[in-house]
Every structure is written in structure tokens, then in C-alpha cells.
């Protein structure tokens, strides 16, 4: 009896230490975000320091963070919606038809999954310049409307569902568009949910491409805005962390509600950034 208690206590002690290590930096960010500018952020003042919403009002009223927030939300929402629609369309055909061409198309999806996107920064930058998409929302949205991993996920899911419902609908005389929207899409909901979450998270957190495709301040997303802010001379940590908190909070809230889908997306061989 005593031994089990000691063992359990030991386990929780280890777990607790690891949890503190994993969460401290994020907790620190949230705490500093609420401290008034110029105040000490040294050890101890975390507990004794003041508590103000001033940094956030500064950022939203006189700073541009409202604009960054809008850009992040707008771009991520459009990209997510695009992925739900387009990946579904493509995956449906690839899952339900056979033959040489289908194999060839799927091979391109797999091929792209193996290409490290970061090596394409130069040609994509030139492409954006030449097509005049540079410095527009198009540059932030168009390249990411069809994530290959999304096609992969939905196709795998569809292949596990027998096509009997679609065939029944077809015999009843339903058109292809109607079958897709009212029969197949509802069946795919779990896979599409996983895809939507991945698309949203990936896009919300992404930095490199939004950073190189855009130079106008009005088009910066939150991560890009934060990086530029940090690039200025003396760092004002209280404001910078308040801005960071704005970037992190939506993701944390979504995570709390959608934990199960996020985990299943990862274990299905998903991507993060």
C-alpha cells in the first residue's frame, strides 16, 4: 500500500516537472503580456508585478495588430475552405476511379509530398513578381489552396467506404453534383474535419512564405508582423508578448475543443508546418 502511494507520488512528481518545463515559456508569455511597459520582468516580478490590459489596447488602437489579425484570419479561413472543397473533389475522383491516368495523378500528389517546399522560395518569389501577385492576397492564398496531404488523407478515408450509397443514389437518378454534395461529402465529414484543422493551423502559424511574398505592411499576417516588430531597435517585451498572445490564443482555444481531431490528424501521418 505504502509502496504504491510512493510510486504514484514519484510518477506525478516527474510528470509535474516535465509539465512545468513544457508550459513555462508559454505561461511566461501570457504573464508578461499583462505587465505594464517598462516594468521589470525579472524573476519574482512574475508574481508581484502589476496586471494591465494596456498592452492589448495599445496594440489594437495605435498599433496595426488588428490588421494583422484580420489578415491571418482571412487568409487561413479562405485556405481552409479551399482545401475542404478542392481536396474533396480531387480525392473523390482518385478514390473512385481506376486506370493509368488515375495512378499518374496520384503519383504527382505523392511526389509533391516529398518535395521540401522551402527549397522553392526563389522560383516562387520570381513567379509572384512576374505574375504581379507579389504583395497581394493572391500570393498568400493561391499556392496553398490544395494541400497534397489533404488529398492523401481524404482519398485514404474514401477508399475505406464502399461506394454502395453513391450507386443507390445514381440508380435513383441523382446527378453527379448532387451525389457529391449530399451523399459523399457528409460521409467524409471526419476526414474533412481533420483536413480543415490541419489546413487552418498550418496556415495560421506559417511564416516563411507570407514573409517573402509580401512587403506591404497592410498585408502582413500575425507571425510576419511580430517578426518585423522584433526587428526594430530596442525590444519592448511587454507589447511583443501581448502581440504573441494574440497570435497564440485562437490556436489554444481551438486546440481545447478539437483535441481528438488534431491527434488523429497527426497519427494519420499529417504535417505541422
Amino acid at each position: 500500500m505504502v509502496r504504491t502511494i510512493i510510486r504514484a507520488a514519484g510518477r506525478y512528481l516527474v510528470l509535474g516537472v516535465v509539465l512545468v518545463i513544457m508550459l513555462f515559456p508559454l505561461a511566461w508569455m501570457f504573464r508578461v503580456a499583462f505587465m505594464s511597459p517598462g516594468s521589470s520582468i525579472a524573476l519574482g516580478s512574475l508574481f508581484t508585478g502589476d496586471f494591465t490590459l494596456g498592452n492589448f489596447t495599445d496594440l489594437f488602437v495605435s498599433g496595426s495588430i488588428g490588421r494583422y489579425l484580420f489578415n491571418s484570419a482571412f487568409v487561413a479561413a479562405v485556405v481552409t475552405l479551399g482545401n475542404i472543397i478542392f481536396c474533396f473533389m480531387v480525392a473523390y475522383v482518385l478514390a473512385r476511379r481506376a486506370g493509368f491516368w488515375m495512378k499518374a495523378f496520384f503519383a504527382t500528389v505523392v511526389l509533391v509530398l516529398m518535395i521540401p517546399a522551402h527549397i522553392l522560395i526563389v522560383p516562387l518569389y520570381v513567379l509572384m513578381l512576374k505574375t504581379r501577385m507579389y504583395d497581394t492576397y493572391w500570393a498568400l492564398i493561391l499556392p496553398w489552396l490544395v494541400y497534397p496531404i489533404g488529398i492523401f488523407l481524404v482519398k485514404q478515408y474514401l477508399e475505406a467506404i464502399p461506394p454502395s450509397m453513391e450507386e443507390a443514389a445514381r440508380i435513383d437518378g441523382a446527378g453527379e453534383a448532387r451525389i457529391l454534395l449530399t451523399v459523399v461529402m457528409p460521409l467524409c465529414k471526419p476526414a474533412l474535419a481533420v483536413l480543415a484543422i490541419q489546413a487552418f493551423f498550418t496556415n495560421w502559424n506559417s511564416f516563411l512564405f507570407p514573409f517573402i511574398f509580401v512587403s506591404r505592411e497592410e498585408l502582413r499576417t500575425l507571425p510576419v508582423g511580430l517578426a518585423h516588430y522584433q526587428g526594430q531597435q530596442a525590444i519592448d517585451w511587454q507589447h511583443l508578448m501581448a502581440g504573441s498572445a494574440v497570435a497564440v490564443l485562437p490556436i489554444l482555444v481551438l486546440f481545447v475543443f478539437l483535441q481528438r481531431q488534431i491527434v488523429s490528424g497527426i497519427t494519420a501521418g499529417g504535417i505541422k508546418q
Binding site: L26, V110, M114, P116, H118, P143
Partner: protein, 289 residues
Amino acid sequence: MSQSRLTALILLSPWILSFLVFWLFPLVYSLVMGFTDYRLVARDWTWVGFDNYRSLLQDGAFRSSIENTLVFVLGTVPVTTILALGMALLVNRQFPGRGLFRAGFFMPSITAIVVIALIFTNLYQRGGYIATLAEMVGVTPPQHGWLYNEGTALYAIMAMDVWMAVGYYMLIFLAGLKSIPEELYEAARIQGAGQLRQFFSITLPLLRPVALFILVINSIKSFQVFIEIFVMTKGKFDTASMVYFVYETGLTTAFQFGYASAAAYVLFVIIALFSILQFALLRRRQSLW
């Protein structure tokens, strides 16, 4: 063309367009540019054959970027994998509060890298928390903190990266642990095998495919490290990675598109080898789970 074929083509068109414009074209374009002296400001460009690749061999900055990237990959990937396995074992069994710990461990993995890099920039500074803690145990940080100091900067970034990635791979290990049948452990217990023996004879061998998969995908990701280096040191203090080199030569000051493209292709070949390995493992894994 039959109507059914036309429907298929329409449904496939988003991918066909996206593949051609945003993947195939840049890939080919980049290969071609690598053999030219194309730059942003130059009106004209000429073929230079393998000159860019030859210059890369001579370029000290490129060589040190390869070195830094290798140090980064070889240093972070094994450590992350081992810690992720340890954490997965810690939260695998059922106990009160398990969900909370799992979620907490995973949280850094869903936070934007930019934000994490900003936080650690402060924590690593002289007077920052990590530095203060180190002083408490008798380790004196360098004058400007670990980040603004050649010789420690890269390792500081690597440590942060392990912290950031470990929860993600823990989840993949957890899925692998779930797939090990409980009967195996029962049989081992009946035969009198202790916990340690069970771990080395059952858990570890059966986790091998998952561990291998994690090693490969983490390597591929780590070879592309850029954001944390950009935010924290701007490539200074001997931290520039290969992607950073591509960015710096291709998209800043001189905008040497040709030269940067050649460098990117070298990186591409390295990662492609790992990716092929990844796909082979992924196919095997699907039949496993």
C-alpha cells in the same frame, strides 16, 4: 471526350493547376536558373553551366551552412526521439489527469515557431529566466547570453527546437504503443519478466518501425530549419542553415537567383533521399496500423 471523363477532369482540375503552377514549374524553373547567372537587377542573364555549383564548393558561407545544418539535424533528431519516447511511456498508462499532461506536453507543438523563437530570445538573454536559473546552479552564461555568442548560439536554438518538437513525436509514439497487443505483456508477466525486461524485449522491438518513421520525418523537417534562425540570430553567430543561405543569397541584397537556386538544389537532393525513405516507411506503416 465522354461526359464521365469530362466530369473527372473538372473535379481534378484544382490539383492539376496547382501542381503545374506551384510545384512542377518552380521545380523546373529553379533547376534551369541554377545554370544561369540570373539576378534581380540584371537585365540579361547568360548560361554559366556548372559554374554556380563550382562556386558553391568554394564558398565558405555555403560550407558552414551545410555544417550547421548537419550539426542541427544530428544533434536534435536523436535527442528529440529519445525524449519523445520517454514522455510517451510516462503518459501511456491510464491514470487520473493523463489527458491534461498529454495536452500540456503537446502545446508547444501547435504554437507558431515565430512566437516560440521570440519567447526564447528573451529567456536566453542575460537576466532572462534560463540564464538566471543557470546562474543559480553555478553556470555563468556568456556576456550577451547564449544566443548572441558564437559557439553556443546554434546549440541554444537546437535545445529550443527539441523542446518545441518533442510533444508532437510523443503523440506518434503513443499511437505506436497503442498498437502493441496487451496479451504480449500478460504472457511476459506470467513467465516472470520484470518491467525492464518487458520494455527491452517487447516495447522497444515493436516500436522500431514507428521510431524509424519519426527519425526520418524529423530529419526531413530539420534539414529545412529556417524560421527560428531568422528570428533569433539572423544567421549570425555561426547559425546560418542551408535554407538560410538560400534565403540570404537569393532574396536579400544581391538577389542572386541563379546562385541561390543551385544551392537549393543541393539541399533538395539531400532531402529527396530522406523523403524516398520516408515514403517507403509510410507504406509499411499503414499495413502495420
